[in-house]
């Protein structure tokens, strides 16, 4: 007894510290393309029964509550908030933004598939379309299989990339190579595949804007942009968003909300610090009783 006050206050302080950490990370990424803000969800900690079962008390006996003291506050979950960020025009043909829900599928160097909302791609020296970390963007090829997107053709042993890459809002990729006969049909590179999850908040963040599925998120459900799918007849439609070439999705962090959160957390931290001090003073007074 008595020390609970100290620990409740200390747990409150560390919870508010975590809140500030989360807000700081959100604010640091206010300009990061495709960044999804996080939110800390807090819960009161388990109530301690100081005298369990003592004196033959029944559950629901009001006197039982005299021995029940909460033990403070703790972080329960950090929740990723997958809200649409603003679309910003960039003019870059390899920049793609998703308007709606869904993730790009990218293949990591180790072969594993990961998911991202960040569409700032570029064409590397092999003609592969990759993200800044070198992960390959996956598409459904005209042959029907899912493979990394390559937009180059070999001419005299050199990889010559496509000169004008085009992507329509339904994800169809096409382009023409330098020196093609004017008026000839563009080359079809396939269709972009988007992925959706039953519980996107269960995704595990594995790096810069990169997510990996977990048992909690469910398996990826893939489809073409602009289409929808149904788990069973009568079930709600699962829509895949549309894709916009030459746009990037901005961060979904709202500076005002984050700053308000930081101020609340700071004041809350101060209150907890005060209650810690008072609990400490009580102990000090108890220790000074005999002089």
């Amino acid at each position: 007894m008595g020390t609970f006050g100290l620990w409740s206050a200390a747990s409150g302080m560390s919870a508010q510290q975590t809140n500030v950490d989360i807000a700081a990370n959100n604010l640091a990424n206010v300009n990061t393309v495709g960044f999804e803000r996080a939110r800390g969800d807090f819960q009161d900690l388990l109530v301690e029964r100081l005298n369990p079962g003592g004196g033959g008390l029944l559950r629901g006996d009001p006197t039982l509550h005299a021995d029940a003291v909460g033990a403070g506050e703790g972080l329960q979950a950090t929740k990723l908030m997958f809200e649409q960020g603003p679309l910003q025009s960039t003019g870059q043909p390899t920049d793609v933004a998703i308007d709606g829900q869904g993730f790009f599928q990218v293949q990591q160097p180790n072969g594993q598939i990961a998911y991202t909302r960040s569409g700032g791609f570029h064409i590397d020296s092999n003609g592969d379309v990759v993200d800044p970390q070198g992960n390959h963007l996956l598409v459904q090829t005209p042959a029907g299989n899912v493979a990394p997107l390559n937009v180059a053709q070999v001419v005299n042993g050199f990889e010559v990339p496509v000169s004008d890459l085009r992507l329509d809002t339904n994800g169809v990729l096409s382009g023409t190579f330098p020196g093609a006969v004017p008026g000839s049909a563009p080359v079809n590179f396939g269709v972009l595949q988007l992925a959706r999850f039953t519980n996107p908040q269960g995704l595990v963040q594995i790096g810069a804007n990169l997510f990996s599925p977990s048992g909690n998120s469910g398996a990826a459900i893939t489809g073409q942009p602009g289409t929808s799918t149904q788990a069973s007849p009568g079930a709600p439609l699962l829509r895949f968003g549309q894709v916009w070439q030459r746009f990037l999705e901005g961060s979904n962090v709202n500076t005002g909300d984050e700053l308000a959160g930081v101020i609340t957390a700071q004041r809350s931290y101060e209150m907890n610090q005060k209650s810690l001090q008072i609990s400490d003073q009580m102990w000090q007074l108890a220790n000074q009783m005999h002089q």
């Binding site: 807090f42 006197t63 005299a66 269960g202 079930a235 699962l238 005060k274 810690l276 005999h290």
Partner: protein, 267 residues
């Protein structure tokens, strides 16, 4: 004299217990759906003092009124910890799975709760910060399933989720079930096992379905803690002074005893 020492000490213990509770409230001033606790003090049972060794102590086996000195209280203790179910402020959010209950039956009506399936059986909460699990079921942050009417989990597929005021959920205009909203005859007696959950017991009575006219579910909203930080800080200061006064009482009585033991005999 020794009795006074214990009276003051018992007040210090009660004040310390109250500090624990206020401290916990303040730590949860930002916890969604948290309900503040309040310590109720009570005096130790009244003792009646009477004169001893009085020749006329008894008359027909009864105490004579003249032998009774009067009543004396011998201390203070925390009688019970009660939970304050006053509604907290509602904050707007952007997550469609955030829900808040607004009680619309008047200021003193019993509060409505969401029902949640926990390993300890069905428990109840005011915190509507929900999410989905891998099966698409609506769950709390701890992963406990939120129950619909009939006691079944509510499956909410990804999509355009809309929650009506009565708790009916639709996804892309297809019905996805209805939340179970309950209330209790005596909510103050509910057990509080932590994690902003409440558990029923014999004194609280069983949960009954709340009348849809008495509550409104608000989507994209979370009910904040009902801790009043200013009041809690004032209570803490007040409590601290009570503690301090009693500490002084202990010291004073110790000094008096010191004089009685060490000085009177010297004369």
């Amino acid at each position: 004299m020794i009795k006074g020492l214990y009276t003051a000490a018992s007040s210090m213990l009660a004040a310390m217990r109250r500090q624990d509770i206020i401290s916990n409230n303040l730590a949860n001033a930002n916890t969604v759906g948290f309900r503040a606790d309040d310590a109720q003090f009570k005096a130790f049972p009244l003792l009646f003092l009477q004169r001893l060794f009085d020749n006329n102590r008894l008359e027909n086996g009864q105490l004579l009124p003249s032998n009774q000195v009067g009543g004396i209280n011998t201390g203070l203790m925390v009688d019970q910890v009660t939970t304050n179910f006053q509604e907290g402020a509602i904050r707007q959010t952007t997550d469609p799975l955030d829900m808040a209950i607004r009680d619309t039956a008047g200021p003193n009506s019993p509060p409505a709760f969401f029902a949640v399936q926990t390993p300890e059986g069905t428990q109840f909460t005011r915190s509507g910060a929900f999410t989905r699990n891998a099966n698409g079921e609506l769950v709390t942050d701890q992963g406990f399933r939120v129950l619909g009417v009939g006691g079944q989990p509510v499956v909410v597929p990804d999509g355009d989720v809309k929650v009506a005021a009565n708790g009916a959920i639709t996804v892309n205009n297809v019905s996805a079930g209805q939340l179970q909203i309950v209330r209790f005859a005596n909510p103050v007696a509910l057990d509080k096992p932590g994690n902003t959950l409440f558990a029923q017991n014999a004194a609280s009575g069983p949960p009954t379905a709340a009348n849809p006219a008495d509550y409104q579910i608000e989507q994209n909203a979370l009910e904040q803690s009902n801790v009043d930080p200013v009041r809690s800080m004032a209570e803490m200061m007040d409590n601290m002074r009570l503690y301090e006064m009693n500490q002084k009482m202990v010291q004073t009585q110790d000094q008096i005893l010191n004089l009685a033991v060490n000085s009177i005999a010297k004369v």
